[in-house]
Symmetry: C2
Subunit: 284 residues, 2 copies
């Protein structure tokens, strides 16, 4: 497996792979890789001949009060996971390589970035879409792989790709959970043992929601109420939002009649956690 | 020469050309082609093996009070020019093909879009950068060709390409002028005979500016004053701006010490005309 730090080296490698007729898969990450990322890399290797993993903690998607500085960086551990998953190359640029001067060009997806996580993280999605546009232009992949865990991110990126006719396909991979149900996240490491126990209420509340829907309860207000009731068993869970929305427009819906995204964001101590499930009434 | 109207057909042709090892050149236009466009197409054919000309009157770059509806559309005449210049393919999509649904993703270049033409045409450059991003993603060219006539547009597009790491190179071609000095523009057709005579004062004033600089006059205020004086010989020329700016940042400069862009926008009757010259003190 190759590890490169510059755009020109990365392009050389990808161009060489493409000239051999290989399809290019791309998994953009901020490092701190875990089994969730591993599942993305494996899915990429399954579908594509040559797989690029980028590791770049992108400053433009962090707010001024967010955890940019304390975000974990352990390239050796990340390299091991990429190697184990049989990625072909890691692209690990510096901030100066990605942002050599003042950045004055932004890719902005309106409307669907304003609700859910966008509400409490102004500018976050503009940072995500802009860095993804840059990375897509650098890697030129045929497929890029994202986790359903970041549901809004996937919706926003897919919309950007469609609106701007970007020549690649976004592949969404299912959320990976630990055995106890907690969705894997780089931020889980911040949790104390007690906080981690509390965090299990998140996936538990989503499971309960699913069971209620399976029994025919489709009223969004009722379902959100039950989710909140389950989570606030612990006083240490501060609910940021519980939303039931159309998976494409991310607009709140009153009742589940077809497809719905049930999405949650909470704070436990200083740690912000998100989780979600997709519900399809025609496919329960 | 092929003429296609859909994105998928265009991509098929370009992919076929690329698979033969051909380099791809791209000339984006809004049709109403004239000898200025012809020079771009010829430059593209000179440099590239396969040349795409797009003809698309992009609604998102017109303001509500601008000339979208009256903008000339004559595909047959445009096809003849493209054929004569030996373009390989015309991409002439419908508005529905380019904007099939609501567009909520915009590519926005800040700062350098606020001055000059940006001041009187809010949203114009956002429309230009977004449609160019879309077209670049559709055509995937190695080189795209723009005219120096639209100086701010070239600067903005170059900055977008650099900031977003778009995998292509922008080639700027010199402004083409009629024998009398008037910069070629699709909008020249709107001018009456008398207005056209007035319009000659634009290039005349730029030439005078250049002569003054050659004689050692580098003070921007003095030069702008002389340009205005020359143009307002005709009371029918309404000056929108006369600016002397840094060619990259488009910030006004007090004095020409190195490179400078001298840019003009005027209204003659209902017709808005722009023109400019690049001055390089080290290369007079």
């Amino acid at each position: 497996m190759d590890i490169v730090k510059t755009i020109s080296e990365l392009r050389q490698h990808v161009t060489a792979a493409r000239s051999q007729g290989k399809t290019i898969g791309f998994v953009p990450t901020m490092g701190a890789l875990h089994i969730g990322h591993a599942s993305l890399i494996k899915a990429a290797c399954e579908k594509c001949d040559y797989v690029v993993v980028s590791i770049f903690v992108n400053p433009t998607q962090f707010g001024p009060s967010e955890d940019l500085e304390k975000y974990q960086r352990d390239l050796d551990a990340d390299v091991k996971i990429c190697t184990d998953c049989r990625a072909d190359i890691i692209f690990a640029p510096t901030v100066a390589e990605m942002y050599p001067g003042e950045l004055i060009t932004w890719v902005d997806v309106e409307k669907i970035t304003e609700s859910l996580c966008g509400e409490s993280r102004p500018g976050h999605f503009r940072g995500v879409t802009t860095v993804c546009a840059k990375l897509f232009n650098i890697v030129c992949p045929d497929y890029a792989f994202f986790g359903q865990k970041d549901a809004q991110q996937v919706t926003v990126i897919k919309r950007m790709v469609a609106d701007l006719n970007m020549p690649l396909e976004i592949v969404t991979c299912p959320t990976v959970r630990d055995n106890d149900g907690l969705a894997t996240s780089s931020r889980n490491k911040y949790l104390t043992e007690i906080q981690r126990k509390d965090a299990l209420l998140i996936s538990k509340s989503l499971l309960k929601c699913l069971q209620l829907v399976e029994k025919g309860n489709c009223d969004a207000a009722l379902l959100k109420n039950e989710i909140c009731k389950t989570m606030t068993i612990s006083p240490d869970i501060k609910v940021q939002y519980v939303a039931i929305v159309d998976p494409e427009t991310l607009q709140e819906i009153d009742s589940i009649t077809d497809k719905a995204l049930v999405a949650i964001a909470v704070n436990i101590g200083d740690t912000r956690l998100i989780d979600n499930i997709l519900i399809d009434l025609n496919n329960l």
